[in-house]
């Protein structure tokens, strides 16, 4: 299936958000997530199925003012 991760298209067979993070090497990284503009807490990533066309955001700590 084709999904969009942080604005870039990606071919992925990850059935859940947790598995997508694992495939991207971010399973243990300090990140927060959303799917289709809706926040997904880290505790719910394993129970969040992914579908064709989903838009996923993965964010990390960054400098800010």
């Amino acid at each position: 299936m084709k999904i969009i991760v942080n604005g870039d298209p990606l071919d992925s067979d990850a059935p859940t958000l947790a598995q997508l993070l694992e495939q991207l090497g971010k399973a243990d990284a300090k990140v927060a997530t959303s799917v289709n503009e809706g926040f997904v807490p880290k505790t719910q990533r394993a129970d969040t199925p992914l579908h064709d066309g989903d838009r996923i955001e993965i964010v990390a700590p960054r400098q800010g003012g």
Binding site: K30, A32, A60, P61, R62, Q63, G64, G65
Partner: protein
């Protein structure tokens, strides 16, 4: 020292973490100034990048309180989702709420700000709203549950100082018991001292420190200025007057 949502802070200086020449200089600016709160953001991290993880390790080492922001958000929905992501990421209920209403001035959208503040407060957040010095807006924010207010001194990144001293003074008089922080627009320590002399509780500075030729020295300058200004406010300053009044006694002067 001020108390923000039941947390007594260790310094009246809050520092942003963006735009420093290097991570080492950022860390040294914090250490040398004693700033007790660091603002941070959440941003995308590309494929193999570790920038966010490295940055977080540096902030953790500083041992300061972390205040995540919703910088760059122009809608209520975007700000709320960003706040939720920040809480998940940084494991704090604190959020510096920015809902930007104008692209050129980065002026807060007062209507969106109140709506987002209400929603986030209801959801258990402890909201630090980046706002203007408008009394009515600040009333609404307090009604929405905000226990700290962060009016701008001037637009973000301008270094113009306190553009509306009257408005900031009115705000202090109107909210004697709400911690007030001047957030944004300061360029010099003297402006931070002025904010404290008006009775403000703290200032938040980023660009003025990070973009100075020597950010560590400038951070120290701001740290001393906020202490000087706070002492002046506590000391009950004299009233200004138009006519000169000799400080040396006139009585006893030799008749020459």
């Amino acid at each position: 020292m001020p108390t923000f949502y039941n947390t007594k802070v260790t310094s009246r200086l809050m520092l942003g973490t963006a735009q420093y020449p290097s991570p080492a200089i950022l860390a040294e600016a914090f250490r040398q100034s004693g700033a007790g709160i660091a603002t941070v953001s959440v941003r995308r991290e590309a494929g193999g990048e570790q920038a966010g993880q490295d940055f977080w390790a540096l902030i953790e080492d500083l041992g300061v309180a972390v205040l995540p922001n919703t910088a760059g958000c122009h809608s209520v929905r975007e700000a709320i989702t960003t706040a939720q992501m920040a809480r998940d990421l940084f494991e704090t209920n604190w959020i510096k709420l920015e809902v930007i209403g104008h692209a050129d001035t980065l002026q807060p959208d007062p209507f969106g700000l109140v709506e987002a503040a209400q929603h986030l407060t209801d959801d258990g957040f402890e909201v630090f709203p980046y706002c203007t010095e408008d009394l009515v807006l600040c009333d609404r924010l307090v009604e929405a549950g905000c226990k700290v207010l962060m009016p701008w001194g001037a637009p973000i990144g301008t270094g113009l100082g306190l553009n509306n001293v009257y408005g900031l003074r009115s705000l202090r008089a109107h909210f004697p018991d709400v911690p007030l922080v001047v957030d944004a627009g300061l360029g010099l320590p003297s402006q931070a001292a002025h904010a404290m002399e008006l009775g403000y509780d703290a200032v938040l500075v980023n660009t003025a420190v990070a973009k100075a030729g020597d950010p560590v020295a400038m951070a120290q300058g701001f740290a001393r200025a906020v202490e000087a200004g706070a002492l002046a406010a506590q000391a009950d300053p004299m009233d200004p007057r138009d006519m000169a009044a000799p400080s040396t006694p006139v009585f006893g002067k030799a008749f020459l």
